[in-house]
């Protein structure tokens, strides 16, 4: 079987397994939508001012939860999935067969990114229907797609990198969420960061890729005009860092 056909077969199997695991599939898809409803209900009455223009909070949250969905699918789910498979001996089993290891991991990464894209599509569709959010067009759509592709790749690479650091499946949720949740908060994904926030919050958010990803998603989705390609550059840098760390820390067997 050719590498392409083998990749497709592995991708199909990964996808089947994902949808047959009700807990994982439900939470992956429920969280961004539930959060969208919750945040919009609690905080959606007002408006957020970005670059002198004000936007409905509900529209702001459509972009925010699309961001959150991609990060959940690509970083959190991928890291946990790889750790669980490693603990169960699936990775070791794969390594004992002629299936190229890169091909197996490519299938998992591709699947995580596709789930991320699907989440964005659902979140946006839900936002359009429920909150009359505007879908970007023209140059903003190009920016949105570019941001989505680089961002999904970046968080998938970081997900693989994190999986190498996590010792076993029991520790995975604590470590993975412990890294990502604070970053989601300081990056304004859940609650907009006001001008009076302490400066260290912005400093931390500047270093890590979450805020940069959120900024590009938000600015292209809302068409604020303040979209910066440098944010995409930072994500690309983190993508490279993620790959390097993943290659150094990745393990085929669990260490207990």
């Amino acid at each position: 079987m050719s590498a392409g056909a083998l990749l497709a077969a592995q991708l199909r199997a990964t996808n089947r397994s994902f949808w047959r695991n009700p807990a994982a599939a439900t939470f992956t898809f429920a969280f961004p939508l539930v959060f969208l409803v919750v945040f919009t209900t609690l905080l959606g009455q007002g408006e957020t001012v970005i670059g002198g223009t004000s936007f409905d909070n509900s529209t702001y949250y459509v972009a925010a939860m699309a961001t959150f969905g991609v990060i959940t699918a690509c970083e959190t789910n991928l890291a946990m999935g790889v750790v669980v498979a490693r603990d169960a001996g699936v990775l070791k089993r794969v390594r004992g067969t002629p299936m190229p290891p890169w091909l197996y991991l490519s299938a998992r990464v591709t699947h995580a990114m596709l789930i991320g894209f699907l989440l964005v599509a659902i979140t946006v569709a839900f936002g359009v229907i429920a909150y009359e959010a505007q879908v970007p067009t023209g140059i903003d759509l190009v920016r949105f797609v570019a941001s989505l592709l680089v961002g999904a790749g970046c968080f998938a690479a970081l997900g693989l990198a994190v999986s190498g650091i996590v010792p076993n499946a029991e520790a995975a949720p604590a470590i993975v969420n412990g890294i990502i949740l604070p970053l989601l908060f300081v990056s304004g994904v859940f609650v907009p960061i006001g001008d009076d926030a302490p400066s260290w919050v912005n400093t931390v958010a500047d270093i890590f890729p979450v805020r940069h990803f959120f900024d590009t998603m938000r600015d292209s989705f809302l068409g604020t005009g303040s979209f910066a390609w440098s944010d995409v550059g930072v994500m690309a840098l983190w993508l490279a860092i993620g790959i390097v760390v993943a290659m150094r820390t990745f393990r085929w067997e669990s260490r207990r």
Binding site: M1, A9, S17, G89, G96, T97, M99, E253
Partner: protein, 302 residues
């Protein structure tokens, strides 16, 4: 002329200060069922995982089909099937999907249905992996290992945790594989398993091979003295001096070079005096006796 499939010379593996494998030589020829027999912690899994390419070695030469497994070549992996204690498959796929997925990676795979049938999982072909019992999971492991139609099969403690019926099933499967001409490299800590399945056995203790040979002749088992054990009923006359030793349960044990003549003499003596022994048995030393001898003599070493 037989073809060498596995060749190991002077293999050593150190984990820090611990030397788990201490200079092992092994040869396995095509079509052989070879058993590496030893207690837990003797180094069996370490050796097998080095042969499979999962672990690196500290010292020595290792060849599988003349290649170094540490190089992790795809062409070598295509010829080898692996059943390990520590591997698993995706719990949410069905048995058939799992076998199909793995066979796709091989150039000349066996039909999935045939492999599933061979391991006795035909009725479970459409069941999710997570619904399988421990024994069924093990058989699925074997099915996955067979999916690529390997020439050499590694089975690391294939029946550990099996109930007696499942063990017999697994043994029948290994015999089927041998009949197909597969080379089987088996590790086990069960004497009866090695005795039943293997053409050749190597006994390993504390990282060293302490004996090697056919199950019937290993460590001079065929030349060891047969044992005659008997117990006289209460009130019987004292047995004559044949060189027997008294056992704690009141019976006597006699080692005989010619068990037929000796048993005849002992039994005849009793019958002449008008009684029968309560216990009367003649046994050849079992592989277990040999094994315990070999592995216990190692216990005293540091």
């Amino acid at each position: 002329m037989s073809e060498r499939v596995v060749e190991v010379r002077g293999l050593r593996k150190r984990y820090g200060d611990l030397e788990a494998v201490r200079g092992v030589d092994l040869d396995v020829d095509r079509g052989e069922v070879f058993a590496l027999l030893g207690p837990n912690g003797a180094g069996k899994t370490t050796i097998v995982e080095i042969l499979e390419g999962f672990r690196t070695r500290t010292e020595g030469e290792v060849g599988v089909f003349g290649r170094d497994p540490a190089a992790s070549e795809r062409s070598l992996k295509e010829r080898v099937g692996i059943v390990l204690q520590s591997t698993g498959v995706d719990p949410f796929l069905t048995v058939r999907e799992t076998v199909e997925l793995y066979r796709a990676a091989y150039p000349r795979p066996r039909p999935a249905g045939e492999v599933i049938e061979l391991v006795g999982l035909a009725e479970k072909a459409n069941a999710r992996v997570r619904r399988l019992s421990g024994g069924q999971l093990r058989r699925l492991d074997v099915a996955v290992a067979l999916a690529g139609d390997p020439e050499l099969l590694f089975l690391d403690e294939p029946t550990t945790g099996f109930d007696p019926a499942a063990r017999r099933g697994a043994w029948a499967l290994v015999r089927d594989l041998a009949a197909l001409g597969k080379t089987v490299f088996l590790t086990t800590h069960f004497m009866d398993e090695a005795q039943t399945l293997a053409d050749r056995v190597a006994v390993i203790a504390k990282g060293e091979i302490v004996a090697e040979g056919s199950p019937a002749t290993i460590a001079g088992r065929d030349r060891m003295l047969a044992r005659i054990r008997y117990r006289a009923p209460a009130g019987a006359p004292a047995v004559p001096e044949w060189g027997q030793e008294a056992l704690p349960d009141g019976s006597f044990l006699l080692r005989a070079e010619d068990p037929t003549t000796m048993a005849h003499e002992v039994a005849g003596w009793a019958l002449e005096r008008g009684f029968s022994f309560e216990v009367f048995e003649v046994t050849q030393p079992s592989l277990e006796d040999v094994y315990l001898d070999l592995t216990e003599s190692e216990e005293g070493e540091p």
